[in-house]
């Protein structure tokens, strides 16, 4: 069976010009295959580049050497040389991303934040609103918060808004960066359900889960990243650079 996503020999490094051009190699020759209806969980200790990989796959970080390919019904698309503007449609229709942090316009209500991926595809506002509310209700976000901007919400509440926003678009490829990190058991269970539902409709997922219990319930396979770690990072980094490195 053809995979949905193939990564081959992927490298990633950061050059910190502010620190005299210090070059940090964080990933070396990483390869993976991801199939439809599969949840592949990235494993490895903190700082190993799990988030970095997701960000590269989302176009958020620039990939180094190597190739990333998406396999569509009508052929393969290499992301390495993809012009920036082509990412807009890719993110809208193909690759979804649940990040650890919510980044939205300060004044926009939680409901609208969740609706946005559908509206971007030109969906009917009412339908989008109903779908958003259904998801927020499932994630036990109190109804009184739906019309408020999430900027003032607690970490867990923001995380749930973020999850609803990530899942509402039903992208065929979902990148999940610790979606359950700040959730209680009940809400973790909802996320597990959402992942199972996504899998049932054929979505391929690549995720980071620190919670052992969640990991066991969603993972079809584990991908330990130690093998692809760059030699320079083989020993735990004494102090991580202020920015530019993965935060996991």
């Amino acid at each position: 069976m053809t995979p949905i996503l193939t990564v081959e020999g992927l490298d990633k490094g950061f050059v910190l010009h502010g620190q005299g051009g210090l070059a940090l190699q964080v990933m070396q020759a990483l390869s993976l295959e991801l199939h439809a209806a599969e949840c592949l969980v990235l494993a490895g200790r903190s700082g190993i580049g799990k988030s970095t990989l997701l960000k590269i796959l989302y176009g958020n970080y620039l990939a180094g050497e190597g190739d990333i390919r998406l396999h569509f019904d009508d052929g393969t698309l290499s992301l390495a040389a993809l012009p920036a503007h082509a990412w807009h449609s890719l993110r809208r229709d193909v690759i979804g991303y649940v990040s650890q942090f919510l980044r939205v316009v300060p004044r926009v209500s939680a409901r609208e934040v969740v609706m946005e991926p559908l509206l971007a595809r030109g969906a009917d506002a009412h339908e989008a609103s109903v779908r958003a509310e259904t998801l927020l209700a499932r994630l036990n976000l109190p109804e009184r918060l739906w019309s408020l901007p999430p900027g003032t919400f607690s970490g867990g509440e923001q995380q749930r808004v973020n999850i609803a926003r990530g899942f509402i678009g039903e992208h065929p490829l979902l990148l999940l960066d610790e979606p359950t990190a700040s959730l209680d058991a009940a809400n973790r269970a909802v996320v597990v359900e959402l992942i199972h539902e996504a899998k049932a409709r054929g979505a391929a997922m690549l995720g980071i889960f620190h919670d052992e219990d969640v990991r066991e319930r969603v993972a079809d396979r584990l991908l330990p990243l130690e093998a692809f770690m760059a030699p320079s990072l083989a020993s735990p980094t004494p102090s991580s650079p202020s920015r530019g490195l993965a935060h996991d």
């Binding site: 010009h17 970080y61 009508d74 920036a84 082509a86 807009h88």
Partner: protein
């Protein structure tokens, strides 16, 4: 898995633009493409040449070298500085829009809000007062201004309200392409947030393509799909907005990004 349409039509094709006021002052050998439905942010510090570039793109200032080609339709390309002033001005007035940083530059301060919103429609030949008024009230509502204030002069409005009025005045003819020069500059932070939200919604609902010049990276992150980073008249880095801001490659971009204050 179905492949989405990845290539959007190019709306603006800018080739080798140079416009210099002096050595290093202005912009030099610049290429860029704006695709339909895209918000392209141009960021850089004062004097980086981004405002000069905007003026050249917006048809206000002829470049020393290079071409600005507007693809009106698949088989209808206009070379902005070769079509003659009459057609260029008509294009700017009717099909394009320009939002100035200072609303006073984009508004007629001496006439009412309604007349400001209606002017472009009148230039298009709209000659029905009732319909002009209805359009004025509709657009004031869309930009969250009280339509009951349609007969008030813009000078009685606050800075944020003036900016929203300027946006209504610009968008009333449903331009395909809008240029914005620091649209949130000079506004209070709370007012800025509201304006940003409104702009995002309008961009999506009207399918606008936008060239946005700003020195504010936070504004760029929220509004722009793609970024160009300018320094001393040249583009030092270009790419997806979050990629430029989260994984900047060029030394100058890294400096710019790391210098942003976060509360």
């Amino acid at each position: 898995m179905k492949r989405p349409e990845l290539d959007r039509p190019v709306l603006l094709d800018v080739q080798g633009i140079t416009r210099l006021y002096g050595p290093g002052k202005g912009c030099e050998e610049l290429d860029l493409r704006l695709h339909a439905g895209e918000v392209l942010g141009i960021v850089g510090e004062s004097g980086s040449g981004k405002s000069t570039l905007l003026r050249v793109l917006a048809g206000l200032e002829a470049p020393d070298a290079g071409r600005v080609v507007y693809h009106r339709a698949a088989d209808d390309a206009l070379d902005l500085y070769a079509i003659g002033e009459a057609r260029r001005r008509a294009l700017l007035r009717l099909e394009w829009g320009l939002v100035h940083q200072n609303p006073r530059d984009g508004l007629r301060m001496g006439v009412s809000a309604g007349a400001n919103v209606g002017e472009r429609l009148m230039a298009l030949g709209q000659r029905h007062y009732g319909q002009l008024r209805a359009a004025g009230q509709d657009w004031m509502t869309q930009v969250e201004l009280d339509p009951a204030r349609i007969d008030d002069a813009p000078r009685t409005f606050s800075g944020g309200m003036q900016q929203r009025l300027q946006i209504a005045r610009t968008l009333v003819t449903r331009p395909r392409l809008v240029f914005m020069d620091e649209p949130t500059g000079g506004l209070d932070v709370s007012v800025q947030a509201r304006l940003l939200d409104m702009l995002r919604t309008l961009v999506r609902q009207l399918g606008l393509s936008v060239v946005l010049v700003t020195h504010d990276l936070a504004v760029a992150r929220l509004l722009a799909h793609r970024l160009l980073v300018m320094r001393r008249g040249r583009v030092v880095e270009a790419g997806l907005t979050d990629q430029i801001l989260d994984d900047p490659q060029h030394a100058y971009t890294q400096l710019l990004v790391s210098s942003v204050l976060t509360p």
